[in-house]
Symmetry: D2
Subunit: 353 residues, 4 copies
């Protein structure tokens, strides 16, 4: 089978290199080019490494970074995976879509656009069709975004809860890893032995994005889910893995056992379609007293599948009308590059590539 | 003025030594003896140091640890400050009270006893009178407990909220320091670069204790406050300072400015009585985007007063009917030894010593 | 081929479980039993996990811990791998040898015994023959020890230096990981944001062991190498990987390029014999300005071989008559269980099992 | 007494703010202006805080940053304390000296200039006279530098050793704190749970600077000390305090007790002159098995004196002809701003201001 040529934008950054990690050996996609800002032009990928826990192949490390030129990117590849920084992503992604590229972006600017799917295939695969309303679609170009890393981690289990019992209220406090800020990112003087209870715009993103993701789509138009959502975000001295303390109220009552069962049995389109990057179990429930932990569970998943794509839930408790649980996900895989690769796999399965 | 003789129980532990720190130079109390388990008998305090950020006086460091003998303790001192471990505190404190000691304890066993005040003088000074219902009181002995470190940190600002607007609902997620587990406490292999979302019995304590503290007392009998309280507790790699993400709903509506004003102007009996260990401002509100932080704010307070006794609140936000804020307090001072010293100062002001 | 039955002693500890990790799937050895102190008897291995970065097979996790009974161990297996604590290792290993077991120990007590090889197969394979002088050898029992983790890490590259240029003087300062102290090991209050410049007996071990390892053997009797060796040991907040700053003087002069070449081309018996756990390159030299680093290089090695068995050297510099370099090794694999597994493989190749 | 007006250059940086901390309340000096690069012009000092463990006075926090204008600085103050970054320090300090300022610099560019003292008053007070050979001296301007933070920490105890026994050979490995790299400095992704065995130019500085500092001066010309010096530098996850493992050989033999006595009794001009920032004991020797530690000893010194100005030595051992010891010093106080303030106090005592 001929593989689909893809570009990685922002290839010198943490998320860009997570894209490369997932695409190095992908059954459907083939990296046609690595792109970043002018000052990295000509550098070997291996001389810009940010990802530390993956052994890239020697050929991958020898790939050279090219400049971000819309026409050349669109010529060289069908798909563009974007790990671009916020300040340049919005405009450049729009121009790429107009030039005919299918853009799968980890960046924030287009997430809340009325015709751009904020896609998590386990949650809202039906949203993908909205791309047909994008003006660039007639020439084959469109934009699909994945969600913020903190949103994604809870959206998958919350979708399971919503499907089973109806979701009315969510209060989430995050314990976010430093890799979420990219590299160089968080100065060590700020975070060693400390917690910083602030991440710019993160709470607003979580609150707005969850409503869009869990919402419905009809005629390509999105309607927000009515869930009441309250987020508080903090950075902790952890390298990878966003842990979140989630308190929620459902519409229909349930026991703790029913809640766990609903989380564990949850699967959706990615699992049914057998998408290559989809975990077999989107949500893994741990029953130990003290899990999930970033150091132990961030790469949870099946050995045969891409690691870091399952969300791990633990400490499911009930008090009054509320459930409490802790949720962990890999912020730069499930909540970053992995989300967009999965989105592109769904688009491919739907013949949109 | 003759100072009141006090004993420190558990003097080789973290909380015990915080008691010593606060009592070394106290205007009303004088350390008459340091007590710990048999295997520490005869050791110099200086050879058992757990507290690292206080310079004890040479004479203090040379004090010798004595064995925990109820009769000798009761003979040598009027007051016993207890930093004993849970497993031995319950019984030993009861025996001390029967022997005539006024016991001010940081330990958990007696906190929920129906005639034992769970006392935070800024929140519930009126509860102190309940000691008169204790059977030992006729001989001068009684027990007063301070609250769990995580409860105390939020109870003070929540009392301010309750007084001003009525408190209906609280959802709190904690970021707790390792010093809360004492020494040796948390193994470094468990917590370095990690978060552990579990602290045994901590959530249950927070939920039960807050209702007792904010509750009323009448005829020496306590009635719980009806607040709905949901706690989730996690340990983070921070040395001192419990940070808590608090989401709450009030009975009467308020603006963010009114909420901040109510927190800032809050004072209570300890301030009115000028208790020596009371902070001038029980609640300090920070307006920066990214505060409070354990590394920066754990010792907040007035230079002229005991450090670590103020609670710091920051990021006061409102969404819908809910307020969100982060709260920080020093877990072994305000939330530990400092709480009990303040309790004893209140008892002294009320002529109970 | 029938595999040789082996026992793992101290199977609830960090080193014991590194043995299990390396033996789970070993081509020559098969785990016949897991042993630990009485209080762990009957527990599942999976309920005692200390090793966090290896995915044990479900069957392995379900193995039960048995009590340390010399006769039963000797009956059930030909080889005993010992990760026992120092205080019980000495006596129990002696009794096992007398009962006919071939004991490969990570413990310190027998390391300096005059007829016990302190064996690193890359350094002193010829020392193995000394087991024939042990009184238990006539019945098939004997003891072979691996070296201290800090010694092993530098002994391999220093052997390369000694072979090429003669080694006269070594000054080593260590940056040792917390996993070297086992579990629970180092309290987080002691090491977070800190360095502790003391590890009991470690410097003495390094100085004595290096001379024995690099020394000669004749007629089963060891003669120390005359190298002048000065060690200073410190613990740093790193999970795995001992980094060491090494300054050395050689007998014959060399250039930096010659030194690097000698380190890189170094191989010995384990590589010639193709021992299963031997790395293809015992010493890997990095040329970047800032390597080796524990976080990046601790698991260095060939993907096809057991990870964590190569030593990584970097920053090879020369000043006057001295060479300076940094050396990194995995303290619980190369410097722990992996060392003893390699020793047993050498014994097997020499028909001593 | 009228205080001497001083300028702080680089006042938005870590070292600049350590200058402010030490000068806020100084008996001889008074801050006349704070200066930094153009982009900080007009900012409140309090809005640029890098120093976290000092409570600046409200008036200090309200001081405004001015632009680095040589003429205005020279007009407004007699002394300029420079915490400027290397790339602009060299030229700007030269121009300030020509404009008549007495420049006391923490920056590296002029340290090895043949007529610039590399001054540590405890080590080489006689070097100060060399300023008279600087061409700008006739107009009152000159430059005095302090040493690199890693050099300073060991230079003070090594001076004591040299004076007592003669110093022939030093091998030093460092465990350096992140504050040494300023702010934002070291990315947390690089250093959390890691050691980085490389700090640009640091080893070369240590080797060259120690020889100049311990060297002699005659007719204003410096002659290097013949000590053989080998340095290896590494960064560890510690906030403040450079620990160094030092192995040394003396010219005359000594016992461990004699070595400790020589270190403890060492005082020099700063102590004799009673310079305000001088510690009473330049070298403090700890006898515990596991000291000095950054977390416990970085601020060692007398309560009545500026903290962080003593060097702490521990674990003094002897093997063969070599002594081993660990040395700790505060890298931004003793090894940074404090060093230059002490230098200016010496200049003042010598009527050079």
């Amino acid at each position: 089978m001929v593989k689909i040529k893809v570009a990685v934008l922002g290839a010198t950054g943490m998320i860009g290199q997570r894209f490369v990690q997932l695409l190095e050996d992908h059954p459907q996609f083939e990296i046609a080019g690595l792109y970043a800002s002018e000052r990295s032009e000509g550098k070997r990928l291996g001389d810009t490494l940010k990802v530390r826990d993956h052994a890239f192949a020697p050929d991958t490390l020898d790939m050279r970074i090219e400049q971000l030129d819309v026409d050349r990117i669109a010529d060289a590849s069908r798909v563009a995976f974007s790990g671009l920084p916020t300040d340049i992503a919005g405009d450049l992604e729009s121009r790429l879509a107009r030039a005919g590229s299918a853009v799968f972006s980890n960046a924030a600017p287009h997430r809340m656009d009325p015709d751009v799917p904020l896609l998590i295939p386990e949650c809202n695969a039906a949203h993908l069709d909205a791309v047909k309303r994008q003006s660039s679609f007639k020439d084959g170009g469109y934009i699909v975004t994945n969600a913020n890393c903190s949103t994604t981690g809870i959206a998958v289990p919350l979708k399971a809860v919503d499907s089973a019992f109806g979701l009315e209220f969510v209060c989430a406090s995050t314990y976010q890893a430093i890799s979420g800020a990219g590299y160089p990112g968080v100065p060590s003087l700020d975070i060693m032995g400390n917690v910083v209870p602030y991440i710019k715009s993160e709470e607003e993103k979580m609150e707005a994005e969850l409503a869009k993701i869990l919402g419905s789509v009809s005629g390509g138009r999105f309607t927000d889910h009515p869930v009441e959502m309250l987020a508080s975000c903090a950075r902790v001295p952890v390298v990878d893995g966003h842990l979140e303390s989630v308190t929620l109220r459902t519409g229909r009552d349930a026991t703790v056992e029913e809640m766990i069962a609903a989380l564990e049995r949850f699967t959706a389109e990615p699992q049914e379609l057998g998408l290559p990057t989809a975990p077999l179990r989107p949500v893994i429930v741990r029953r130990e007293a003290d899990r999930p932990q970033p150091a132990l569970d961030v790469n949870a998943g099946e050995p045969s599948r891409a690691r870091g794509m399952s969300c791990t839930v633990g400490r499911v408790r009930k008090k009054g009308n509320f459930f409490k649980m802790f949720v962990l996900s890999h912020n730069t895989l499930r909540g970053g590059a992995g989300g967009s690769v999965l989105n592109a796999e769904l688009a491919n399965a739907r013949d949109l590539l």
